[in-house]
Point group: D2
């Protein structure tokens, strides 16, 4: 596999830093550019960045000059961690100029021509890339990953939806602090506390989940016809979103069927073996008190979703608890896996 | 009102201590006896107790000799904080010998002759006391309060059930550490973590809620016919259980109706004005990020349940977030209020 | 005592809110004005303020119009919670125009003509007020309270200094989140962590402590001649600064002498009985594992400093652990007590 | 290097588990036996153990039968995590029967014939092993590691003592929860709190530090003549002890000298390159807000001590903040490194 040069957009923020760290030592991708807002103009990445990761800043990134206010980057791929609200126009312009953009931002996720992708769930939606390219008359394109909470939910719904059809979903999340970026949540607000509201989060879960689970029809995605209810809360956990999920299924399922659906879940063949793909996209824990964020977020190198407490639900049909890393699987790692899949599919 | 002498059973434990603290300065009740297990034999309460409350141990309690292994107490009322599993036989025996026992223990809650009572919700179930007395040929009796999580849930379901009928309930709790007693949850288990399981808790919610909302028929309670699903989790919060609740109603309700049901909720007339009764059993907060345990648990002197985020639910009908103090309203304070109501009803 | 009208400057911030809450129901002072920066222009206090206190915003404050950009307030006393850096010039100007300003800001604390006061420690330094008045040809003046960490330290050094002379002090603090204001410390930085540095804090401890313990000579304060070393750290505690303190004394002291010095400490007679003065400025706990912030910060209505673990120090002479509320005793409550003392001394 | 078979004593506890995990994949040592108390009799390690580590239990350990009540183990080396109080007699007996025992328990640390060793600090004290062997007429022996807090302190004092002589030490620790074992500290005690006392800890620091820094004279260790004062506190951190340290030196040192002493610190040549030896036993951070437990505990694979905030101390001479992993460097990892050194020195 030839090495691709990659740029990280919004590289100095929390998600940008996660991209930089995950790209260190990547077998296919080599960080060649870091791009950020005007504030970082004229600085090296080391100077411009308040490094938040626990491992040290990769040597290869330290000396890179932060680029600002240009669409001229020495890169084939752009990973975008540009803040929501500003990301959309910039990402479109980078695509127009020929870059393959893999975005973590919310702005374009629901655009009809933009694939919203979890590699193992709907990698085939990358088919939209051709539509995009044609319309823009460019080799560039934008692919988005999805909201972190939604990614955890959608990954667990996928095997159930394939096997039994999912009609209705109730989800209550207990989300980690790192989901709010940095500085994010004030310690005075969340220490020894729960905040039962996260602005915009429930709307994203409702909008994105059916698109993830939808069907690609020629040039657009037919959303999966399901009803979803979400309550999103913040808890004093650093990393890892926990979700209590209940589902009503179209076809009756026995406990062993549900278990087997989770345990046997594999992405499409072309995803398996990708550098960032975990061996098991879903890991089932049988202990009654798992998954737990501190103990399970690292599963599959932070790329697996861990499911436990699978049991009948007296109101809907089945319920379980799911947990996933919000900053890796639910953000930077998910985008990198999407790019790996796109490379394999020869989209760039 | 003549002053009643009261004993606290299981007085040295966490809930026992809460009883002792709440009884300090009570206008009707005077702590006269503390009773605990053999380990405390021969000690004063101050010597026997690892005091956990943040305010100092009441002077009146310090010097009391801890009684053990006797049913002969200088008291009219016994508040029982005896651990579940041991409480049942002891409480029955105290009742047989003429004491009015108000219990926080789980053992007898589902016994057909024992009222399971939240004063504002089903104070009329105290009618079972007469049945009990007759059967036992004693002036004594046992009244229980209920599981802390269930009390918060049932208080919020009551006005909805009265106004619209509650058919189905989905509840996900985020429960405080103090609900597990002392030493309870190890800090290594819960720091920066969520534990998505609490042994026996979901079963209690399912069993007790219909009894609270049920109808007293002659000598037993007809449980309310409703379907309940519960997922109970532990979060790193000291005090205050948060619950994300969705309900399906028998009769269609508009938002303003639901709001009005909560806001206008009052217990029966005889409860209002009792020393431990909060002015508003349910407090509605309109801010989108409330209720929060650290900010709202103290409402109504820890006796109100705070409700927020009332909104339509796409899967069932309505959803909201509720919060209540698990150690006061959900434990010792609830039992004391039950005793006040029993006194007013001249049951002792 | 005639009621004084008081204004809170910087009223919308965290310390400003603490002033507003503590003034609710004050027997001598009545909140008449709230003053803040331009951002709040034209709003009521309720509209302008993101209320952080756990008890509700006082009714009397809600409807007050926030004043900005004026020195014309309907008040006798100004409590200043203006942010450091901006406070100095504003406070001087308010003083020049005749207001008695009691400041929580750092700007003027070390000014020779400005008393830096803990009522029980050096209430007599209020004598500087006359100097100030004369120089400014105004009835107004400024009195400051001191850094929160320093206040806890200085209160415990005072009785030792009076009895034995304090020559050298080693102090390591474990400071609460509320000391950093709001939003203050990011939860991602401090959750399950210690930050061993607080900008500017150690310098304040070194500068202010000798002034608190110094002697008022005619028109200036002779700082106490002592050597101080401070290491200030932040820990995940909401309220209450803990300090491990070692002292070297000029005159030999026995353990009972040290204990007696702490236990018998009283401010000057005129301070005792002031509305905000605690009965015991220093509370000594004999348990080996006290003081603890969560259990002891409330002592004396958050105005006492709690001392424990008094024992010989092999390097210096004696050591102990001290704890005090940083937002009440160490901030707003301390200033209010200073104002009460000034009223009693007929300085306004 | 031939592979040695190793047993873990007290294998089911928290430290025992840490030994089991750290031994996974060790190049020289192969876990062959797990030994624990009667309670585990007849169980496999997987059955007997409430596994606390975040990575899964090593496959090689799962099926091992837990041995109890025997001194007949198929092993050359015993790593002992037997609880303090019980460890001493058992360890002596294992030694008498020919096993090389590397202990984490406190019982024998101060025994004159038992080396108390940090490989990089006083690896030469392993010379005591010959004395021990002779006296016991056995090939077996006991080597201990030291208290976790003391290990962090002693590692940072060593280069200063070698270069300048350390006369006096003031240390205030902020210790992690994992230092108290499991279940250890109750969450209700430590959440949002500091506990300024840890039973027996300060005594260990005072006793062990001079032995670590002492000189091996023929058959005993001459303790280093230094005066130490310690205050040990517990903070809500999972892993990593933070220590604020001040030292008075025998010979004047400039800042650059102190810095160089830390940065150039290396253990004896024979320690460098051992499988568990970090490249830098001490890592110096120049940022003013480091070291922090959550960000720095992992340095050198949890085997480095991180030092920061090096600056003059006005009371003694120099001060700094040190941080080290209490469960790896301060416990199991330190013992394994000791065993590696003993193997290299051909003591077994």
């Amino acid at each position: 596999m030839k090495t691709r040069k990659v740029a990280v957009l919004g590289a100095t923020g929390a998600v940008g830093q996660k991209f930089v760290r995950l790209l260190e030592g990547h077998p296919w991708f080599k960080l060649s550019e870091v791009y950020a807002s005007e504030r970082s103009a004229g600085k090296t990445y080391a100077e411009a960045t308040n490094w938040l990761e626990e491992s040290p800043m990769p040597q290869a990134a330290r000396g890179l000059e932060v680029k600002t206010d240009t669409y001229d980057l020495d890169a084939d791929i752009c990973f975008s961690a540009i803040p929501g609200g500003k990301a959309g126009p910039a990402e479109r312009e980078f695509a127009r100029r020929g870059y393959a953009v893999f975005s973590n931002a919310r702005d374009l996720r629901m655009e009809p021509d933009v694939p919203l992708v979890i590699a193992e769930v709907n990698g085939d939606h990358l088919g939209l890339v051709e539509t995009q390219k044609k319309a823009a008359k460019s080799d560039g394109f934008v692919v988005t990953n999805g909201n972190c909470t939604t990614i955890v939910l959608a990954m667990t719904l996928k095997p159930l939806h394939d096997a039994f059809g999912v009609d209705r979903v109730q989800m209550v999340s207990m989300q980690a602090l790192s989901g709010a970026g940095y500085p994010g949540v004030a310690s005075l607000d969340i220490t020894e506390n729960v905040i039962p509201y996260i602005g915009g989060e429930e709307e994203k879960v409702l909008a994105e989940t059916p698109k993830f689970l939808g069907r690609l029809n020629a040039s657009h995605v037919e959303p999966a016809p399901m009803t979803i209810s979400a309550t999103c809360t913040r808890v004093p956990v650093i990393e890892g979103h926990t979700e209590a999920i209940s589902v009503q299924l179209a076809r009756k399922a026995q406990g062993e069927d549900v278990l087997r659906a989770f345990e046997s879940f594999q992405g499409p063949k072309e995803v398996r073996g990708l550098p960032s793909a975990p061996e098991h996209p879903i890991v089932v824990r049988s202990e009654e008190n798992r998954p737990q964020p501190r103990k399970d977020r690292g599963a599959g190198n932070f790329m697996s979703v861990v499911v436990g407490r699978i049991r009948p639900d007296s109101v809907l049909d089945w319920k379980y608890v799911a947990l996933g890393s919000n900053t890796v699987r639910g953000a930077a790692g998910g985008s990198i896996l999407n790019a790996e899949l796109a490379v394999t599919k020869r989209l760039l």
